[in-house]
Symmetry: C2
Subunit: 206 residues, 2 copies
DNA sequence: TTGACTGTACCGTCTGGACGGTTTATAAAA
DNA sequence: TTTTATAAACCGTCCAGACGGTACAGTCAA
């Protein structure tokens, strides 16, 4: 509602469909990564187009060619990161085939991994929350999806969800730089989470 | 390091010690509440002094008298909300005297309560994260305090901490408007958290 | 030729904050 | 009690810089 029409559904603003390795898409992704770095370095409140220009080395015109407005840029960040996160989770779920509660396991694993610190969804989320609360809906929808999967995977789905929430909170704290745990504590808590999932799986198997 | 010296330790900018009902302190608190409302209505990225001017009805000069910079305002919000949150938790802990794991219980109770939606620490936190990442240290310190209390209260302190994290995450999600739960689910999860604390207490008592 | 840019110049708006002036509370002096 | 002094509390305006965004002429590889 802010800007008219930016990129209706997909993660691609120019005309053609998403051929992944076009020159256009490569620099597009480069812009998104630069934006992430800006948020990481300066905080979500100082994500400006000019900052992305500096960080990416691209010209302002170039940036605005890919993302016709700042809102579109933020939307792009959200989409990109949701997709990346989902890709990782899906990959882990696949590896965990056969085990009980694969989704919770995968979510906890991904959120405990180092990826969270580098390019986190939370970071884009902060940027969005700071400037374009509208785009957050997508994140909520995505979360809901996982909730429903967990509910399908377990009778004690509430317990699974709580474990996921705990992992999520640790990830958010980390990104917001308010994590009050030592590395050791963090590892221990993470391990404990996984072992609790095991317990949960064992219980529901009986 | 941004502004020279604002309010070194206390939550009071003028000279004298904190007589709670001075005219000054009243309008000071009024400004803070107005700032909270602004963040609630417009999002942390649109917290501006002028917005607080409009919301509070006070003049810009008046605002800047109490908080000589925007950074000081955000710092004030953080302090005020940390204190308010701690007050509530302390009050609940007192009520729970005798029960096991009082701190976790109190934290979960407070974070599940309606207070979170009205004037939450998270909101100030968002504002800080958006603009002045420096002030976040105080929040981290405060969290650490609770962690250590929980560790003192229980042998299974890690489990207690995980429960707290789950509750925290629900609260954050709510405030960021990315909570993917229905009201019913939320209540159920909250109740489940409390019952899990009971289990924890029972286990450690044996 | 076309798509993918670069580079520069520019505009309107918003924002933090400085500043000078005015009102109000308080308390001492008359 | 009234007057006066003084500082705190507050007002309203102004300004420089930042920011989002436009426009447009030119470059350069595919």
């Amino acid at each position: 509602m802010t800007t008219k029409e930016v990129s209706p559904d997909q993660d691609v603003p120019p005309k053609k469909a998403s051929k992944k390795n076009t020159r256009s898409n490569n620099s597009r992704v480069a812009v998104l990564h630069a934006a992430e770095r800006v948020v990481q370095k300066l905080g979500p409140g100082r994500l400006t187009i000019d900052a992305v220009v500096t960080e990416s080395g691209m010209s302002k015109g170039g940036i605005l060619y890919h993302f016709p407005s700042k809102s579109a840029l933020v939307e792009g960040m959200i989409n990109h990161m949701v997709e990346e996160s989902n890709r990782r989770v899906a990959q882990l779920v696949e590896q965990l085939e056969g085990e009980a509660n694969p989704t919770v396991r995968a979510l906890i694993e991904v959120q405990g991994g180092s990826w969270v610190e580098e390019q986190s969804l939370s970071r884009a989320l902060m940027a969005a929350a700071a400037q374009d609360p509208e785009h957050i809906g997508k994140v909520r929808d995505n979360k809901r999806l996982f909730v429903e999967r967990m509910q399908a995977e377990s009778q004690d789905s509430d317990d699974a969800i709580l474990l996921w929430l705990a992992a999520d909170c640790m990830a958010i704290n980390k990104v917001l730089n308010i994590s009050c745990f030592t590395d050791e504590e963090e590892k221990r808590l993470h391990a404990r989470l996984l072992s609790l999932v095991d317990k949960l799986s064992a219980k529901s198997r009986t």
